[in-house]
């Protein structure tokens, strides 16, 4: 039996009404094809290319163009995008809000990217904030958070969280992308702050569907920072128990809400952390090393197998 035959059978058995069955049959036999996702994909790629092109043009031709032309063009672009969003956007709601049209989310994202470019250009060329220049990032963070919540936009929320990470010192260009010395503590602080924000907003029923983005940022920053601590100090520090605790919390949450992505994070980060400590303890003896990896990987497989069976049985 194939899907079409099954749908016809269910319609005959009156388990599907005729309108429903017709739509599903049309989808199944490809008489209707939704290209919504494709259109969104190309819109997003288009916007990313525009941002990249504008950035490259500014970088390469800023002398020919002059500051006034660059700043006014960038300001005009982001202002137009924001005005459009405020004029066309649906009213604020605590829950999920559908976009008024297919391009809306990307126009807001475009506006935010051009705002960043504009502010970064002004700051690089004029140093308005002097030594406190990094604080302009905080203004951007506040604006992005506001816009993300006002228009229910996941992309802008991701921008807000990564800009906040930049304020903490984690940038793509700097040498501070790795966690060393006090940046490790900054990473932990950043992770805990955004985790608290995410959970708090979830608890007070504001855009509950954003929690996953907060959790993903927090989980990676926290676990990588703790792992770097474990790699440096091995078992003789609080990093190791903290990592185990974080992984256990992730796994527990994952099982509770049945979002198994977090089990993946917990197992991978936890296993790497434990392996760093154990391999250090057995002083890299080849036989013990191989035995350790055989035994522990079999244990993990058994554990995951048990977990997956438990969820199958519960279904």
């Amino acid at each position: 039996m194939n899907a079409a035959k099954l749908l016809r059978k269910l319609r005959y058995e009156k388990k599907l009404d005729s309108g429903q069955a017709e739509l599903l049959l049309n989808l199944q036999e490809r008489r209707i094809i939704s290209v919504h996702r494709e259109l969104r994909f190309f819109l997003y790629i288009g916007i990313l290319l525009i941002i990249a092109g504008a950035g490259l043009t500014v970088k390469q031709y800023f002398i020919n163009l002059g500051d006034a032309a660059i700043i006014s063009a960038l300001t005009l672009c982001f202002a137009a995008a924001f005005i459009y969003c405020f004029a066309r956007g649906n009213p604020y709601e605590g829950g999920e809000v559908a976009s008024p049209n297919i391009a809306f989310d990307y126009i807001l994202f475009f506006g935010c990217a051009f705002y960043s470019m504009d502010v970064a250009y002004i700051e690089t060329q004029y140093h308005l904030l002097g030594d406190l220049w990094e604080n302009y990032l905080l203004v951007s963070v506040a604006l992005f958070f506001f816009l993300a919540y006002r228009f229910d936009n996941r992309l802008v929320l991701s921008m807000a969280l990564s800009t906040l990470a930049a304020w903490f010192g984690f940038t793509l260009s700097g040498q501070r992308f790795y966690f060393e010395n006090y940046y490790r503590l900054y990473a932990i602080a950043y992770a805990l702050i955004i985790l608290c924000c995410g959970v708090l907003l979830y608890r007070i029923d504001i855009k509950k569907h954003f929690l996953d983005i907060y959790l993903n940022f927090a989980a990676h920053f926290l676990c990588i920072a703790l792992l770097s601590g474990v790699a440096e100090y091995k078992i003789l520090s609080l990093y190791f128990p903290a990592l185990l605790l974080a992984c256990a919390a992730l796994a527990f949450y994952s099982v509770q809400v049945r979002k198994f992505l977090y089990v993946l994070y917990a197992v991978i980060y936890g296993y790497i952390g434990i392996s760093i400590v154990i391999v250090d303890q057995i002083h890299r003896q080849t036989f013990l090393l191989f035995t350790y990896f055989i035994v522990t990987s079999m244990l993990v497989i058994g554990l995951i197998f048990k977990l997956s069976r438990r969820f199958k049985e519960n279904q």
């Binding site: 099954l6 269910l10 993903n216 990896f293």
Partner: protein, 402 residues
Amino acid sequence: MMVVLYPPQQEENIYIRQQAQAWRRSGLITEEQLRAINDHTDLQLRQTNLFFRLLFLVFTLLCAGAVVGLFVWLLDFKDANFIAVMLICFGAAFYIAAEYLAGKYLFYRHGVEEALVVMAMVLFCAGCGILLSENHLTLTQLRIVVPALLAITACWIYLRFGFLYAAIISIVALSFIPFQFNLSPAVERILLFSVLCVIFVFSLLADKPDLKNFRKNRYAKIQACLLAAMYLTVNLEIPGFSGSIMRDTHVVHLNAQLFPPSIYWSSYVLTFLIPAAAIYWGIKNRKRLIINVGLVMACVTLATNKSYLGWTRYAWDPAILGIMLVGLSLLITRWLDSGVDQTRFGFTARDILKPEEGGITPADVAAALTPGVIETQQPPAGAQEQFYKGGTSGGGGVEGKF
């Protein structure tokens, strides 16, 4: 013996259940109706979710790798022939274990049997490679034999287990072979293109209308991969284009000297023809994946067009391509929305089927990286002053201090 390991009706049932899950997610059917569909699609095969599958895969690979490593270390063989034979034996053992798990315990895309089969493939090919290299095969011969062996093994795994990535590994391994004969670059490309065309024709012949849906779906994916491979073979400016993205934005015309003009300009025409044909064929046969691949190839053609013609690339070129994409997407959306029931020729821009939520999407990651990329694109501070002071803008190099 049947080549395919799993009963076709079981695989079809899995396909139906996946479709039903998508309908439920999109609110097209109720929970009760989903249960009714599940009741009609009896399933004996054991599956697991994507994340558990990944964990099973990673840790089985780790375990199998450690077992092989331990044996090689314990037995301390000095002779390469012994090591090769042992690798082949381990490959065979892992393959038998995978067959056993899939046959007896009905593991289906479970991660464990996949890892065992991948490990078996790698060990078998590595073992054969060592054995052949120890037995007077030249390096050139070895570079042909090992990819061929890998292509055959991966093809067998695809036919037996139905792993799509095995088919892709097979195609990629096969694509290495034409480059090992010391032929001219033009002949290498023609040879590879011909091989890919032959495989594509075979896939078309195998893709019959009365096939089960899961098979049709699988063939569509393979055909999309083959089309992409054919396009990558034909487009001679992709290396130059990627080089221009990484380094500078000036004229990049790297391959013009390597190819005769007839080949070069034929390839230019083909970079337009292949995407156009793919889009046309995809629309005609209503193959969504083929349309998508065709559209992506069309974008790459537009991006490499200037390199082909030897025109100067400018910093704003990506922005122009971006504006074109945005404009086209909006035009198509409006055109589809203005049709009867927001549909034209069976295509609609309505969001009917919702994708599975995985927590965070690649789009979110790209958005998160955007501020960082913007920061790296800033011109250096004070560069303008330097420019005018140094006299680069004119004035015969007279400095400010003069």
